[in-house]
Symmetry: none
């Protein structure tokens, strides 16, 4: 809990991960080297050379070496994660299958795989394959059936025009102003991710003030998005040049204030109002009759907030389930009371009590 808002560590990912305490971070976002095996130079149809990933940090001798590397950093991430924490990894077909299998072997529990559909991918110049137009992210918890992970379902739904957010996200590549350049004007980092991608990841799976760890920090996209959304971050980066660019970039980011990072909350987080309180407040009287939406069933309200239908008695939920012979029922939306304008769900009475409590 004691981490400052911003931490950038210069050093080897694995070595620095080992120095972090157990169960100390809320989220890991990792964009590890892809283990690309590109033979020779790739030429466009006009014979210009494609600026592909050929940095030293992206070369591994074999799958065994890559697997050992993957297992080592994932193991440390799992140790460092809080029990209710989660991890994201992004990759392409070159490495994501190995990363995913290693995750599972280490006990991580996959929640979703997410497809980042690139709206403007690089074409396949030679016409030998399908345009490689997506990358894959894996979202996983520390273990199966562990403590509750953070998923801001309602915020995601709100961000998607009130439809559930799906596992395929269409976002443009990081280009233009956002793409960091070096002194010569060339792109500073070969695989800089768009901030919009991190925005969605962070908004979906963290809360304000959470600590986000990025063991392959690069030019700090995770840090920039975290700062913008009022989250803390720890970034580990081996290359001094990248770390420097990240520091400069993040310094320019204006952090959100506490009230700016408030998002649509879930109903589950609202204070619980027992049905008896509706009766206590006089919004319904003992003896009043409730109906389902079509008026097929009628139930009588008792002074203690229980309902009676013939021989059946119990909570609004239990009686609702029993009259339908259903395994469960949300009594708040199932039962209705008579108004001048017709039947209205008793949930509006709950909302009335809640707003009185808030005032």
């Amino acid at each position: 809990m004691g981490f400052p808002a911003e931490t950038i560590i210069l050093g080897d990912s694995l070595e620095e991960l080992k120095k972090l305490p157990d169960r100390s971070v809320d989220l890991v976002f990792a964009d590890p080297p892809y283990n690309l095996q590109l033979g020779g130079d790739l030429l466009r149809p006009d014979n210009s050379k494609v600026d592909a990933v050929d940095d030293d940090w992206d070369r591994f001798e074999s799958f065994e070496t890559y697997d050992a590397f993957t297992k080592a950093w994932l193991f440390q991430c799992r140790r460092v994660l809080k029990d209710d924490g989660a991890l994201w990894v992004i990759g392409s077909y070159h490495n994501i299958f190995r990363v995913g299998a290693t995750l599972q072997d280490l006990g991580f529990w996959i929640l979703n795989d997410i497809v980042w559909r690139k709206s403007n991918p690089m074409p396949n110049f030679k016409g030998t394959r399908f345009t490689n137009a997506h990358e894959t992210l894996i979202w996983a918890t520390k273990s199966r059936g562990g403590k509750r992970y953070t998923f801001n379902y309602d915020a995601m739904k709100m961000a998607n025009d009130e439809l559930q957010m799906r596992s395929d996200w269409t976002l443009p590549l990081c280009t233009g102003e956002e793409r960091l350049k070096d002194e010569t004007g060339a792109k500073a980092h070969p695989t800089q991710k768009p901030e919009a991608l991190l925005h969605r990841v962070i908004l979906a799976s963290t809360r304000p003030g959470d600590v986000i760890l990025d063991p392959f920090f690069g030019t700090g996209t995770t840090g920039a998005a975290a700062k913008r959304l009022g989250r803390r971050f720890i970034g580990i980066e081996r290359e001094e040049a990248y770390a420097k660019l990240a520091r400069q970039r993040i310094a320019k980011v204006i952090p959100a204030t506490a009230d700016e990072v408030v998002i649509t909350g879930s109903k589950k987080s609202e204070p619980r109002i027992p049905f008896g309180q509706i009766v206590e407040a006089g919004l319904l009287r003992p003896g009043d009759v409730l109906y389902d939406d079509k008026g097929r069933h009628a139930a009588r309200v008792r002074a203690d907030g229980s309902l009676v239908v013939g021989e059946l008695a119990g909570s609004i939920h239990k009686v609702g389930a029993m009259v339908q012979s259903a395994p469960a029922c949300n009594g708040w939306t199932y039962w209705h009371f008579k108004t001048d304008a017709g039947l209205a769900p008793i949930d509006v009475l709950r909302a009335k009590v809640r707003s009185q409590l808030a005032a």
Copy 2:
């Protein structure tokens, strides 16, 4: 080369694969068990039960067992493939990482991973994850830099409105008339794939007359698509009931003549842009204020794309309607942001994101 046009073998996949000669088939398409690990029953909000995959063939004791199974059948497929042949496997996040890693371990060379985006997936009923809206296919050759594999680049480009076919394919689930039913009218097979998916796979990566092997034949989607497109097929299926249905189904298929191979066009529609994506893209920031055209109402933007006016919160459309006490409102034209030249409707920001996505 001597295979007949249609072969359906009743038996265990691995045992029957072992009986096939070396280097005898042009393409393998495999839809192996996904090794889903489901808990108890899943109920929809209307209390109806989801018909889950609970068949014996999808139960494995552990990842080790599943990996051994995967390695065994993939090894045989590789032996049976011609040197210029290729293999496709379909799976979900439950198994695809293990399949992909095993492929690579056996020496297969991945050409693409393909995302099947489902236009009508099952929602996530409990609001606990992102809607699982896709499955993944892997396309691989026998080995790196081997003999030239078949890729009908121009046919794919033609099928995609003269644009290179991308690695993400949007196709509906197999439902309606196409979905095979048993005597009781229930679905005959829990995981029948759409023929359109196989159509594209076969059209992309085989030539007329090629031999296509499907070691998990099920109700014969691969056979039906192969026959329709003038390719030969070998299907291996353990369940007599499935094999029988496959035979009946394929008997009804009318093979296309060489010059009438149907190419499925792809419908392109303007992408829907949720308001949340405007915030993700950084065109508006959390805390920014929007106004109606006369500046009578002001609303604050939140990070998830919801708006806040006083106690009211919700989507741009809902909040717009509420402040006007109107039944509905188009938030895109109602809300404006401040620019140097005065107020501008947020619809111009949507246009900007659209053009980024189209670029």
